[in-house]
Structures are given as C-alpha cells and as structure tokens.
Amino acid sequence: MSVDTARAITVSELSTQPDARVTERRRRPSFTPYFLIIPSVAILVIAMGYPLVWQIVTSTQHFGLAQQFGQPAPFVWFDNYIKLAADPYMWTVILRSLAFCFVTAAVTMALGTLVALLMNVVNRVIRIVIQISLLLAWAMPVVAAMTVWNWLFDWRRGVVNWILTSIGLPFQDHNWLQDPISFFFVAMIIVVWMSVPFVAFSVYAGLTQVSGEVLEAAQMDGATASQRFFAIIVPIIRPVLGIVLLLQVIWDLRVFTQIKLLQDAGSIASETNLLGTYIYQLGTGSSDFGMASAVSIFVLVLTVAISAFYVRNMLKEDES
C-alpha cells in the first residue's frame, strides 16, 4: 500500500520536473511523515534493538552474579560460543528442541486443518459450538491450563491414569513425567491443544477463499474428496498454511512456559530441557548470563535459518 503511494509520487514528480515551484511545494510535506515516524522508530530501536545489542555484547563477556552486582564484565569474545559448541549437552538440547518443534508443529497443523475442514461442512450451530470451545482453549491463561493438565496427568490421582486403569490397562500409579519420551508426549499434547485453535481459525478463514463453484466443477468432473483437497484446496490456501506453519515452528521452538511448569511438576530437568528452559536455567538459574545470552543468540540464528526459506517464498508470492 505505502509502496504504491511512494511510486505514485515519484511518477508525478517526474512528470512535473520542469516546474521547480510545484516540485518544492510537493516535496515539503514529505518531511512530515519522516518526522512523525521518529518516535515509532526510536521506540522500536529502544525496545527491540537495545535488548538485542545488550544480548550480543553480553554473549561475548564473562557475565555472572558479580557482574550483575556492578563488577566490570571482562570480554571473553567468542569463548562462550566455543564452550557451547564443544558441549555435547548443548547439541542434545538443540536436537531435542528441533525434533519436538517439528513433530509438534506437524501434528498441530494436521489437527488444525482437520478441525477447519470440519467447521466448513457442519451446520451453523455446531460450528459455533466448535468455535466457542476452540476460543476457550485459545484464551485460557497458560498457567491456569497447566495446573489443570498437571492434575490430569498426576501420577497418583490423575484422571488419565484412572480412565486407563478402569478400562483394564496397567496404568495404576503410572508416572508420565518420569520418562523423557512420555514427558515430551504429554508436553506435545498440551502444546498442540493450545495451538490448534489458532491454526483451525486461520485455515478456516483461508477456506472461505476457496470458491464453491471450483469445487463443484471438480466434483462433477469426478474428483474424489482427497483429490479435491490436495489438488484444489491446498494450493489455494497455501499462503495461509505457509505462514501458520512458520509461526507454529517458531513458537514451538521457543516453547517455555509449558515445559517449565511440567518440569516443576516432575521429571529430571536435565533430561527434559528444551532451548527455552535451558537458557532460563543458565541465566536466571545459574546466574551465567554470558552463556545464556550466547545460547539465545544461537536460537535467534536458528529461528532465522528455519524461517528464511518461508519468508523468501512469501516475498516471492507477494511480488507475483
């Protein structure tokens, strides 16, 4: 939008080039936007730039509790990064986080799309019921939801164990959080439960863009339901799917609250740390702010690397 306006002005300026007076009159107001934008830019720089710069600087320092209390922080340059790269635990956490984020994002996308398709075919009343329940899950404060989830999966009195036991499975006093695999399974259920509504609503909005005539025509040509979905619906809503998937991947990579609260409920922290909780443990836990910043920068790079592909694709689609 703003690009178009700028282009229009340039064109009109070119066309009126000979008349200097007119050009000047037109140019003068064009300073006002820049002037008005200064506060916003300043706030962006202060609010987003300052922490980033601080983090980059800190990641090259030895910054512990003594530095927090005013001792000068000695620069160690890339020592923190070298230590991290040489630490096998760091790589375990990274691989764990990547695996968790991709699996969780994929499951979320699949379920969210299915719910969106369901909303598309059911009648209005049922759709509103679905939408309200989705919104409730979406609007639930994470800490409140986590308290409930922790109770559901409680090893001794959780409803989940009770149900499984009462249908005859050996789940009495089964501790879900003790084994890392089942810990992440529970974590995934919770994260998926919280993110499906967003995916479902976005994809549902995308589905309204698919015109009924196209689908009807395809159906008359004999396309099956799955052919219609993969060959017609998916290509049309691909931009929506792309951006939603990207957001899911980024969010799931940085997941923190759910993991932290589950860890508080049980599990051995070192076996269930993801990047978010690892940074927390290094920084606020062990007061090693230098190392924590280095890991954060690494996560930033990782996020950019993962999303670069999508962003480039999206930009290309925007241009075409």
Partner: protein, 452 residues
Amino acid sequence: MKRKLATVTAVALASALALAACSSGSGTTTGTGASTDGKGKTITLWLAGADTPDVLRTYLKDEFKKETGGTLNIQQQDWGDLVTKLTTSLPDANNTPDVTEMGNTQSPTFTNVGAFLDISDMYKQLGGTNLLQSFVDAGKVGDKNYTLPYYFGSRYMFIRKDIWATAGVAVPTTLDEFNSAVATIGAKNPAGVANFSGFYLGGQDWRDGISWIFANGGDIATVKNGKWTASLDSANSLKGLEQLQAIYKTASKAPNDAKDSNQYIYLNDDDAIPGATTADAATPVSLAAATIMAPGWAHWSIGTKGEKDGKVTRTWDDKTFGVFALPGVDGKPAPVFAGGSNIGISAKSKNPGLAKTLLTIIFSKTYQEMLGKNGLGPANSQYVSSLGSDEFAKALIASASNSKLTPAAPGWASVEASNVLEEFFSKIKDAPDLAALAKEYDAKITPMLNAK
C-alpha cells in the same frame, strides 16, 4: 488512518517512556544517612513464603510505625523464584527491598558479591554470640557480618503409629534400626495399599536424603585454602549413598522424579477427595506411606480430616500419628539439613538507617519469642525456650541440635538452581556403581561451587 494510528501510538509510547524516566529520577534525593526518623518514608521488607504468620507481620508494621513514624511495606516472595528476584532487584537502588529474608543456603552467594550492607557494628547489639552461629557464618565474608539468622527450622520424621504397630516395628533408636524398620514396613505393607512406602522419599528429594550422607560422616563438599571440592565420593558419603539406595529400592515407592513437596498427603487418610472413601471404604485414597520426613511446620497439614467453613481441616491425633528426630549412627539425633532463613539489609537501600531500626525490632526479645511461639526457631538461643515443650518442639530442638548447613561456597545458589543434586539423587536407585556416579557428579559440582 494507519499513519494516524501509528502516530498516536508513538506519542503515547514516547510519553510513557518520558514519564517513566521522570519517575526513576525523582526517587534519588532521599538521604543515605543513618537517620531513624521515618516520617513519610516507606521501607520494604521481603519475606519468603508464608512461613512468617500474619500476627508477626502486623506486629512488625505497628512497631516500626511506633519507633520511626514510617511505614513498613511487607512483600511476600515465593521461595521458588526468590533467587531470581534477588538477582534482579538487589543491584537496583530503585527496586531493591530495603531488608530481605533469604534461605540460609542462598546467603553466601549474595554476600560474596557485595549485595548486602556491612552490619558488623550492630552484631553485638542484635544478639552477638547468642545468635545461631552456623547461620551467622553463612552470612559472613571474612570477619564482617552481612546477614544474620532470621529463624531456624529443621526436618524430622512423621509416622503413622497405627501402621508401624501393625507391622510390629518399634520406634528406632539408631539409623540402622530406622533403615531396617522402614524396609520391613514396606515389605509387609500392613495397610494393603498398592505401592505402599515404608518411608516415602522422593527420587529428587535431596534435601531430606542428604541426611543419610551427613549421618555417616559424609559431606556435599569440603573447603581447603578457600577452594571447594565436592565430596560425594568420599568413603563416608558412599556409606550414606548405599543406605539411600537400599531405601529407594525396598522402603520407598515414591516416583524417582518426586521432590520434597507436600509429602504429608501420603500420610493422611482420604486427602480431600470427596466420595473417594464411600465408593471403596477399604482403601483410603491418599494413604501411601507409613513415614515421611518434612520440615516441622508440616504437622499443621497432618491429622484426622474434618471440615470447617467448607475447608478441609486436619486435627493431629496422637494415637495415629507420631514424630521423632531421625536417629544417627550412634543413637544421637542424626545431622539433618538445617532449614531456616537469614536476613540482611540491601547494600543499595536508600534508607539504611530505617532498615537498621527494623533489624533491632526483629532481634528484640518480644519478636524472637513470637517466632518461637509460632513454631519457628528463634535466631537468638536465649529465647529458644519459647518454642514450648510439646512433641513438635522437642523433635525440632532435637533434630536441630545436630543440624548441618549446606556448603557456604560462593557458587552454592547456582548448585541449587541448576538442579544438579536433584538429578544426582534421582539416579541413586538404579545406579550400578555408586562410586562412579558420585565421581561423575562431583566433577559437575566442584566448578559450580567455586564460580563467582
């Protein structure tokens, strides 16, 4: 439209920033002299958890008002994120509490980086050598006092007398007797409850489990020429670890990720689940252990179930429940992990004079005895008798008599925050080679202890 919105937002944000800048500038004019005239001034006291009862808080506020004319603002912090909050607030003159409570084991970390005001000049006045010396040491750097004891607590054993009696075991007088008694109860399972623990000890519960290492003469770490070395693999520590492994294998059915929280729910019958016993009266839901180890205040949560104003209450019943201090190898009370708090004045406090006045109120006879009456061990040994003489007071005094602090190493808080001890304890049960496990974790802990 879009541009207008952006401008409005920008102006709003800019003015917010400007206002914030003003407010942070205005507070710096208050004096730093040791004045005790507090008219119109407010100082902030951080208390950790709900351990200090309301009566005591009200007393502090009233007394402070009376003495200085100022206002005392008491803020309660959670134990869980106290270190985090102290780390971010203490260095900041505008947000620091003037006086703060902290766990005694958290004190060295902060005193070593100069977070607290030197109060050596008040040491004699506040109690001097009558103060609990191990806590005083935890607040010392060199020969200067920075933090002083606030109260002490201790951990002792709570048992189900009825189950112990059915299992036919007597109250133990030595550590070995205790170990075999809980193993017997676990094997006999007299209550007939699935996964019943003779002694419920969570896999990550190092604060209780460490008693076995201490009792056998072991230690978490030792110091030599100012350098700390973790000593979980010493011969004496290993003796304790072997006993712990046996307890984990035979006596305790607690999950290996359980921590030291709310163990009392496993000692009570029917813990607040409506209808649980009417459906199946034979197996009360919550009862799952014959013995737990917990700080003294847990006794408020143990007892026969009742109801008052819609809330579940617990009434202690001497026939069903009992307490004793964990016996040591020689029959004397075993050294357990000393609970309790230190208290200090932030080095960045803007009202150190008023903060010092608050300390004199806290260390006064009246307040120390109020602590004792509420079951918190007074910092000043002259007033310990105020704890009373009931069985809880006896168990508290007995178990505290030989209690031990965690290492006063500069990096101790990091060790706690990194959960490394939780992890170590969770691996004891299934470790094929305890010495190798202990060595592995010593190597992790030693650098943390010495980190600054």
